[in-house]
């Protein structure tokens, strides 16, 4: 198993994706900062069938500008803050490891949250965040959900464990049964 150190500037998600991802930046900072003035965080990214078959581990250093640190309450519920912070991290790993853009938001009941793609093709992206250590169980659940999408497309699942500082990022084929 390899361990590679990758770097990304959080604010770049606004440039790299088409969905107005800037709104996720303060939420990511609040969920990841170790202390009020922190401007970086380290995460372990576990990639499954992304880039190459099987699992690879990457050490990811995420940095942000001091100006991006929110100086007032975010005004969202804790659960929403966690989910949207995970969406911000999903934008980061999509850029770093696939080069695909998060292109648009899905409607109700599409079984995933976003459409991602290049100029020619789109895939699903399901994202979830947790403040507990249940990342593997959450990942299994979300993979099953994505594989039941009504459009029959393959897709990605990103699960962010903020307590354990880890990200599971997997590519999954439509309809395939998980072992």
């Amino acid at each position: 198993m390899t361990s590679v150190r990758d770097e990304y500037r959080l604010e770049d998600i606004a440039r790299d994706h088409s969905i107005g991802a800037a709104m996720f930046v303060p939420l990511v900072i609040v969920r990841l900062r170790g202390h009020a003035g922190a401007t970086e965080a380290l995460l372990t990214a576990r990639l499954r069938d992304v880039i190459k078959a099987g699992e690879t581990r990457h050490l990811l250093r995420l940095s942000w500008s001091a100006e991006s640190i929110p100086n007032r309450p975010l005004g969202v519920h804790e659960r929403t803050a966690t989910e949207w912070a995970a969406c911000g991290i999903a934008c980061v790993v999509m850029s770093l490891y696939t080069g695909l853009r998060v292109r648009h938001v899905t409607g109700d009941g599409d079984r995933f949250d976003y459409w991602v793609g290049d100029g020619d093709h789109e895939y699903g992206l399901e994202v979830s965040g947790t403040m507990t250590d249940d990342v593997e169980a959450r990942h299994r659940l979300k993979v099953r959900q994505l594989r039941e999408n009504p459009y029959g497309v393959d897709g990605y699942v990103v699960i962010v464990g903020f307590a354990t500082r880890e990200v599971i990022f997997s590519f999954n084929r439509f309809g395939e049964v998980a072992l």
Partner: protein, 129 residues
């Protein structure tokens, strides 16, 4: 890999696709903050855009992608509180013979939920009246 085709879409389409996504995210944020009127307004704007995106996809032969945007338009109207337009769009989709079976099932479930909610809402209005 199994994917949704999006070949031949121009920058103008991408700009509108991005705009509706921002509107939907802003609407969710506003609803989260209890600003329901402002959220409904954003969802209605997103629904109009989704309807136009669906038409563009259909003109370009991207039929499956047109279904994605048409169903999303219905869902945005529902979230804006407009059952009438939401149900009409779902019925339009269900009338198509080329709608894939899985999408048909999903739209059918969704419109059933909308009709159930509408019936509950009518009953509540009648009780209050």
């Amino acid at each position: 890999m199994s994917s949704m085709r999006r070949q031949g879409l121009d920058v103008a389409f991408e700009t509108e696709e991005a705009r509706k996504s921002s509107l939907m995210l802003e609407a969710q944020l506003l609803r989260e903050r209890g600003q329901d009127e402002a959220a409904a307004d954003k969802f209605a704007q997103a629904a109009e855009i989704e309807g136009s995106l669906s038409e563009v996809c259909e003109e370009k032969g991207l039929i499956e992608k047109s279904f994605v945007h048409r169903f999303s338009a219905a869902s945005c109207w529902a979230q804006a509180g407009d059952f009438y337009h939401a149900i009409a769009l779902c019925d339009e989709l269900l009338a198509r013979t080329d709608l894939p079976e899985l999408v048909r099932r999903r739209v059918s479930d969704y419109v059933h939920t909308l009709r159930t909610r509408r019936a509950q809402w009518y009953a509540e209005l009648t009780l209050k009246g």
